[in-house]
């Protein structure tokens, strides 16, 4: 069997023009599919960045909230009630809002302000420079040193700045696993300072961050919070909520889905047509092999091996090309929202398998129908 597969590979690879056309089709399709889905994954990851960076197991919020940026303030008593619920290990307030930093050149830069619980600083970032306890100092803020850091004129520890007409003082530079979606620099401070700095409505509590004593307590906590008219979501559930919001309520997911489907169709049409032409060109040869004594299933294996090889090489090239271009793009645009995930790779691989499978089915049907007698007739 290996010998006949080797023949199949030689027939394919030695037909350079056809092989390159086939690979181009698959590579292009994979590139587009991975690129589209990676971009979407990147956007989703950035959209949920605050949730993952904070690391709270349970988020309590207004039921209408579908992402961190559009929090609906809750009254302070919610935090007290949640912390007193059976099965809650702790519950702390969390503030998320926006402010304006007055830059030295006279312009304003919008920033995201995250206020951590004054007592525990739960959800604090890892500081690359400075000390976290200095957040308690007067006007103390930690600036996240990410792709957006330059927009604040790269302030170092000790720098003073003006935030919403109030003084701010940089006490630390923070590093986060993921940066946000909207291209805003992020400032961390205490909850009490955050609500002073940011004008707000009567209520100020954006989220309550909590942890259950054990995973078994989560359902009862969720039920009790629902009784208050709010919702408690686990970290995974909140990320899923954000994902659903961006996928279905912003048009983003639909557009990406359409582009991915178009990529699939482009790949299918180029590769399918090229593979079918390749098979047609070799139809007489397959007939000769059949006449010599090759069995129908062996011819099927040959075609599947050719389609499989093309799919694998094209997949590898497509993924490599995509990863390379994303890396290049990130060199030029640091906050370029694109990330290749195992899910993207699996989806693209599945689609490539479908493309090569469909192309092979058509080819197999033709090859199985060829009569060796046709070879004799010429």
């Amino acid at each position: 069997m290996l010998g006949i597969l080797r023949i199949a590979f030689k027939l394919l690879i030695n037909d350079r023009g056809r092989f390159v056309t086939l690979l181009t089709g698959i590579t292009f399709a994979v590139f587009l599919m991975v690129q589209m889905t990676s971009m979407f994954a990147g956007i989703l990851r950035k959209a949920a960045a605050t949730v993952t960076n904070t690391g709270a197991p349970i988020w309590v919020m207004d039921p209408a909230v579908n992402n961190v940026a559009s929090s609906i303030p809750m009254p302070d008593y919610v935090r007290d009630v949640v912390s007193s619920l059976p099965g809650v290990e702790f519950a702390v307030p969390f503030f998320s809002g926006a402010g304006l930093v007055h830059l030295h050149d006279g312009t304003y830069q919008p920033v995201m302000i995250l206020g951590l619980d004054d007592t525990t600083l739960f959800g604090r970032p890892r500081l690359a420079k400075g000390r976290i306890e200095d957040l308690y100092a007067e006007y103390g803020y930690a600036v996240v040193e990410d792709e957006e850091y330059g927009k604040l004129e790269r302030p170092d520890v000790g720098t003073d700045f003006e935030l919403n007409d109030e003084r701010g003082h940089v006490v630390g530079l923070a590093k986060l696993p993921a940066s946000g979606l909207f291209g805003l620099p992020t400032l961390y401070t205490t909850y009490s300072r955050a609500i002073q700095a940011v004008p707000s409505m009567r209520f100020t509590l954006s989220f309550v961050l909590a942890r259950a004593c054990s995973p078994a307590d989560v359902p009862s906590i969720k039920k009790a919070v629902a009784g208050l008219g709010y919702v408690a979501r686990t970290q995974e559930e909140f990320i899923a909520t954000i994902t659903r919001f961006y996928t279905w309520h912003t048009g983003l997911g639909t557009n990406i889905l359409i582009m991915t489907a178009i990529s699939f169709l482009v790949g299918l049409s180029i590769s399918g047509q090229a593979f079918y032409s390749f098979t047609l060109e070799n139809l007489e040869k397959f007939g000769a092999l059949k006449a010599i004594g090759t069995k129908g299933r062996e011819l099927v294996y040959m075609i599947l091996a050719q389609a499989g090889l093309t799919a694998l090489v094209g997949y590898g090239l497509g993924v490599g090309l995509c990863a390379g271009l994303i890396a290049l793009a990130k060199l030029r645009v640091p906050d370029y929202a694109s990330v290749v995930t195992y899910g993207n790779l699996a989806l693209a691989f599945g689609m490539v398998v479908v493309i090569s499978g469909l192309a092979s089915v058509v080819a197999v049907r033709r090859v199985l129908r060829i009569e060796p007698f046709d070879v004799f007739r010429g």
Binding site: M1, L2, G3, I4, R6, I7, K10, L11, N14, D15, E284, K285, G287, A288, L289, K290, A291, I292, G293, T294, K295, G296, E298, E371, P372, F373, V375, F376, R377, G378
Partner: protein
Amino acid sequence: MAEASAIRVEGLRKWFGEGPTRVNAVADVSFEARFREMLFVVGPSGSGKTTLLSLISGILRPSAGKVWVEGRDIWSESPDRLADFRLRTVGFVFQDYHLFPKLTTAENAALPLIIRRVPWNEALAQARRQLEVVGLASRADVPPGKLSGGEQQRVAIARAIVGAPDILVFDEPTASLDGETGHRIVGFVKRQILNEHRCIVIVTHDNRIYDFADRILHMEDGRIVGEERPRA
């Protein structure tokens, strides 16, 4: 000397289509071919020669009649066994050779062995030996596209004989060759390839090579209308 029967055909018929459009390609043909015999089937174009060749080599199922090869009723076999029969018992030389342009000459010649799952290197070594027999040892590593028509014909012969089949069938072996080359190749086949364990059936309408035949069957309109022994 009476040789053993290699091929026996009785009441063989093949028609295409049905009703008023039915065409009788082979009509009630019976004959016998023996080992060590080079049997020519000749006749005008459309007389059913190629169809007959396909019927006796296990390629085209007859509408009626029987074909025994080495005593085996080949058309009672399953498709897989029939494919095995073609692979192990019959060697084919097609009119257009049907060599694979993307493989080397040696790989082309080794195909029947590769299909038989003989290890790659061993199959190629055997193919090279057969290319030596047909005088093409030095061209083993070039693609067939770089060979002349006569050389390609010899590669096709090497491919046909590499698996040591008992029956060799040639379809119009000189059709694409000039007279001298065709004559030389058929002479070579007669001298070097035919032996006491082998029967060769050649379909042709090239009367310049009739001298090589041990026996000639004349076909017309699907029937055998005459038989002659040129050297008798």
